[in-house]
């Protein structure tokens, strides 16, 4: 009899809890005009200058709105996924305004985390660079304001190039022979520090050939990594990670940071680095003896389309202070504060006129703004991309090729298969 009771109890329990838990933000409907506005921003290695600018914006904001306080929390980039997932699942712990990476956007939006923004009434918004604003859109709707943008170009060692009587490459096809020549003449140097996990260095090679990761047909994505153009780009990039340029034993496991690190250590003649790498390169053994040019495209004088990385500011869906959150987002992302953030942190602004302004005052930025103006591209805007990235589909494909485990045809075909599975799931 006891057994029967037990079974009955368990049975009732199973029926009561017969589905996994679900929770989530529902728009609260309330729109309070006072109280505390909570803001999440990313922590940085050297946060001081960023914090100072943010504090200035806060005091301006609080001056305009009496009875409003702004509380900023700095969260770690490395644990952002967990923090945001937690915030989406429990609106009580969520902020009203948050900074987030533009590659995370699609996933966050489909999780129901951010609310759509209406930038129509905001005058300054018309000066946002269109291809950068696109990185804040999902299905044509805007969910964030681009706060700053990061773009990569070709770093090269001026001392090595002068010594060997070389000029920076003028086309994408010249990079491999040039890098090979340098390594031949200076075997202690890596020709160009490329990495098997350095997706954002590989993408311009694919885009320059006219290929892409995936193509969208009315929001439905299919992999394009196995197209003839994409394969040509993949072949061009993986050619760099060979013993005569960048030995796989050293380079195959490298991501962006490690690739730039080899350049910083003075072990590489070239690398692909971002405007955001400047400070760290200036503090390394390569300081004072390097130059930057846009990564060349297929033809002379063209620029390979770069990946438009960067961070957005957005308003969370569950916020109870929608108007205030919108206003604070527009203030912090305004021209005035982007200019200040550039001075403080070196972050590239997202307004075309502010970009021009800072490039004129700082010659270093020219190759980067030139890259931005010649058109940037982006990863597929779909929540499936976050999955593809987490499953390291593209890096695995590159590594399979550079280690000789698979040839370009097989590796790209397999990657396309995995991606299509993610797109359709």
């Amino acid at each position: 009899m006891r057994m029967k009771t037990l079974v009955a109890v368990l049975g009732v329990g199973a029926v009561v809890a017969c589905a996994p838990v679900q929770s989530g933000p529902t728009s609260s409907g309330t729109d309070e005009q006072t109280g505390q506005l909570r803001v999440w921003l990313f922590d940085e290695v050297n946060r001081g200058p960023k914090e100072a600018v943010v504090k200035e914006a806060i005091s301006e904001f609080q001056g305009k709105h009496s009875g409003v306080t702004v509380d900023v929390q700095y969260i770690q980039v490395s644990s952002r996924a967990e923090r945001f997932k937690a915030a989406f699942s429990d609106p009580k712990s969520a902020p009203d305004v948050a900074e987030f990476g533009n590659t995370d956007l699609a996933g966050y939006v489909s999780a129901g985390g951010f609310s759509e923004l209406d930038l129509g009434k905001w005058d300054e918004s018309k000066d946002l660079v269109p291809s950068i604003l696109d990185t804040a859109k999902v299905d044509g709707k805007t969910y964030g304001v681009p706060w700053f943008v990061g773009v990569r170009a070709l770093y090269y060692r001026t001392d090595v190039f002068t010594e060997l009587g070389l000029k920076p490459p003028a086309t994408l096809d010249e990079i491999a022979p040039l890098a090979r020549e340098i390594r031949q003449k200076k075997p202690e140097l890596i020709g160009i520090s490329a990495g098997g996990k350095y997706l954002f260095a590989a993408l311009p090679f694919i885009w320059a050939q006219g290929g892409d990761i995936a193509k969208s047909d009315g929001g439905k994505f299919t992999a394009a990594i196995d197209s003839a153009e994409s394969k040509a780009g993949v072949a061009k990039y993986t050619e760099l990670i060979k013993d005569d340029i960048c030995p796989p034993a050293t380079c195959a496991g490298n991501g962006g940071d490690a690739s730039v690190e080899a350049f910083r250590a003075g072990k590489a003649a070239m690398t692909i680095g971002g405007d955001f790498n400047r400070k760290s390169v200036d503090a390394s053994s390569a300081a004072g003896k390097y130059g930057v040019v846009p990564l060349p495209g297929k033809t002379k004088g063209s620029v390979a389309p770069a990946f438009a990385g960067g961070n957005l500011l957005g308003v969370m869906k569950g916020t109870q202070r929608k108007t205030l959150a919108n206003e604070f987002t527009q203030l912090l992302a305004s021209k005035k504060y982007q200019q200040k953030m550039y001075t403080a942190m070196g972050n590239l602004p997202t307004f075309s006129d502010v970009q021009k302004q800072v490039a004129e005052s700082d010659k270093f930025l020219e190759p980067f703004t030139k890259t931005l103006q010649s058109g940037t591209k982006f990863v597929p805007v779909t929540p499936a991309w976050a999955k593809i990235e987490a499953q390291t589909v593209v890096p695995t494909m590159l590594q399979e090729i550079v280690t000789g485990a698979k040839n370009v045809d097989t590796a790209t075909a397999d990657a396309a298969k995995t991606m299509n599975a993610a797109f359709t799931s």
Binding site: A81, K85, G113
Partner: protein, 296 residues
Amino acid sequence: MSVTAKGQGRTAFAYLAPALLILGGLLAYPIYQLVLISLYDYGQEQVSGGAPLEFLGLGNYRNLLGNQQFWGVLGQTVAFAAVCVVGTLLVGAFLAILATRVRTWVRMTLFLAALGAWSTPAVAGSTIWLFLFDANFGFVNEVLGIQGFSWTFDKWTAFGLVAAQVIWCSFPFVMVTLFAGIKAIPGEVLEAAALDGASAFRTAWSVTLPLLKPIILVVTIQSIIWDFKVFTQIYVMTNGGGIAGRNLVLNVYAYQQAFAASEYGLGAAIGVVMTVLLLGITMFYLRALRRSGEVL
């Protein structure tokens, strides 16, 4: 059943109830949830309420078992765990026997060193090993005169390095437990064997080993479970599964394919498969021992 026996049963149940409650809460409920989640398409959208739940039945399992990579990783995990278990037991047993034969200060040094390895957190231990075996600046390469050789690039050297690290941080448990076991063998038994004229080898084989069997059983099962579930060492030392994922083991695979990708349903399915596999291995091992006449 007599009245008193029934009463006794009730009393026993009352005494056991708190433990049962805790076990139920800590084991049964999570496993129930794990199995439940594994039957759904349960991603971040579903967790935070952005999309409706979809019941897949055995869909996640079909998906998993139909995936070639899963089988490759599973085979790799079994082989890797087997090497680690055998290595750990051999090193641990050898050092335990050594400890019974050396002078006190040597034994103390050995124990202190082993405890140091044992108490080092896995992440710290893995990172220190990486430093030691760094291609350019590592101490090991400097001593061997092979600067520039990458231990973590090749599939087999990478697995070997990680296996050595796993053995390094898990042999102390085996050593200490076996040492205690050897010390607990009554002196008279060994004396009797000696009086009967048994050689040292014969004594070890026919007297010490059978007496240690229950302890060896425990450390073996523990080692199998630990080494099958290795995560930190592979994740840290091979940078998340090696070049092109060729050093993946099941736990890291589950993390990468499922949890990092917010595919909790699939992740739960991998978890269930792992639990079933480990239970299976343990049962098989226990039955094999019982058949060989061991009282368990």
